[in-house]
Amino acid sequence: MNALANLGLGFSVALEPTNLLFCFIGVFVGTFIGVLPGLGPIATIALLLPLTFKMAPATAIIMLAGIYYGAMYGGSTTSILVNIPGEAASVVTCLDGYQMARQGRAGPALGISAFGSFIAGTFGVVALMFFAPVLGAAALRFGPPEYFALTFLGLTLVSYLSRGSVPRAFLMAILGLLLGTIGMDPISGEERFTYGSLTLGDGLGLVPAAMGLFGIAEVLENLGKTLRGEVYETEIKGLLPNRKDWKESFWPIVRGSIVGFFIGILPGPSGAMSSFASYAMEKRLSRHPEKFGTGAIEGVAGPESANNAATAGAFIPLLSLGIPGNIVMALFVGALMIHGIQPGPLFIRNYPELFWGVVASMYVGNAMLLVLNLPLIGIWVRVLKIPYAILYPLIFLFCLIGVYSLNNNVVEIFIMVIFGFIGLLLRRVGFEGAPFLLALVLGPIMESSLRQSLLISRGSFTIFFSRPVAAVLMLLSLTCLVTSLIPAFKTKREELAARIGN
């Protein structure tokens, strides 16, 4: 009953006119930038972050969360229509979604992904409602060894699943951890590696690095390419999936929701991971696996549901442990800290109206997306038809203003552009940006938890294996590490990673 009372409190916050309005703005802007290639939720949230400083904390997070899951919706639209995933999480949607579009079934593909996302988003919100408080209570018993083990697992997973070889991904992760030590020491406050630079005194900015490695690098790469995806010229009619479609999609949506939510809890590239896991599972369970890749609706319904459920799951480590599982979550931490709110084990107890308000708003936002997306697909298609030559200067501009507006610091523009260039070069030789960025996010938490653990254990590393939760997490990481070196598993991993390709 408590959950119901809490949800009531949540809806009373989410349905306030201001919050309703900003929820709408969030999901609308989110879908829009999800459709645009090279512009993701990171750049957008960075750009809108200063605006949220003047809002109430609940309103701010409601809008930013809307951008995040709205972008997931938008990303699938481009996957289906142009075969270009707007987001890493919708890479698998291309496989069957684009094939469906080519067979003239773009409508049902878009429709089922919208409905699947809605159902999964709803499931994710309900699950979040029940799990977050439980985990919040459990989180109070989390000590430094558990924090270290969890961040270690996150970095192992992102490296394990990245395209290219595991050693290269690890190299990028360690580089991220190393650059993450720039700035103030998390325990003693001593300055490290700043060399008198005021900009570096606060540490290497996450936003310039992320926008450089993803936004700028991607646009530069597209600019250098000659080929370009064409919008599939087809009349989109009949967005509503028929009875057969529903019958085929029902269980994939249910399974995708559950799997997606639990994968979402893990720090790391949970969106991409969950959509792939769902795809692989549906293909295995299907009575006609050979149809996958040729336009099977299950291949769209499952992954699309999974990545939306993962979005809800990703809030759990943030709100209950204070660990941001990805860059967007790290930006949420920034938005909360401005209002003097520290996410962590006490968050739900101390700010119930904020927590339940955001949860309820996600429910409202998912409903808005369903209503918004079905009739607006025509507009998104038109956005996709804007010539890239005109679009990319605007995307650059967006990134430039976004990074400048954070601290009004031109140096950060240069940091972003340099990261863009280096990111492009490294990408060309098979060194991916995702492990680097997650390491940059998790680095400070990892370092302080490692040092605190060693203080507690008086220098013995057995502390990570003698406590049950930490031990399980460490063993999971070590399993990934060991299997990536065994040849038989190696090819399997490469297939997996090539698909997820973060």
């Binding site: 290219g164 190299l171 000659t226 203003i401 260039f421 098979g430 220098g459």
Partner: protein, 149 residues
């Protein structure tokens, strides 16, 4: 491909060495009481070990997990990079509107060879509309520059 991976690995090694030297200057503490230099030092050693691993892999000529990529037109990328840097240098002295107008015009004219008319119309509307959206509606602090606009 093999050559570029080798070069990258060597660069990583050099970076690890640099980080090691710099980290040594910070207090290390003991394993039972780690100080600020502890984590960076461990990381620099790990970085070196894995960079060596990647180097050996590359020298042995193993091409695992490499996604073949099409050739890029680097001259276009170079021009765009130049424009981005120039934007950073001119932004605060010329002001938002002027810099943005020049930036978009340059990208459309020099990088993409659009017609002058198209370039100027797009650049003008992009700088004006983004100024209204960010500067006026969202109150993003945008530098005014010497012209005061």
């Amino acid at each position: 491909m093999r050559k570029s991976v080798t070069i990258t690995a060597v660069l990583f090694l050099a970076l690890a060495l640099g980080a090691f030297i710099e980290a040594r200057k910070l207090p290390f503490g003991r394993v039972s009481a780690p100080q600020p230099g502890f984590f960076p030092l461990i990381l620099s050693v790990l970085l070196a070990i894995i960079a060596l691993l990647v180097l050996v892999e590359a020298l042995k000529g193993r091409e695992e997990g490499v996604v073949p990529r099409e050739q890029l037109r680097w001259n276009k990328i170079g021009l765009a990079l130049g424009a981005l840097f120039a934007f950073g240098f001119l932004f605060e002295s010329l002001g938002y509107l002027v810099t943005t107008f020049l930036f978009v015009t340059f990208l459309l004219r020099a990088v993409d060879r659009e017609k002058w008319g198209v370039a100027i119309v797009v650049a003008f509307s992009a700088s004006f509309l983004s100024y209204v959206l960010f500067g006026l509606l969202l109150h993003t602090p945008l530098p005014a520059g010497f012209l005061g606009i």
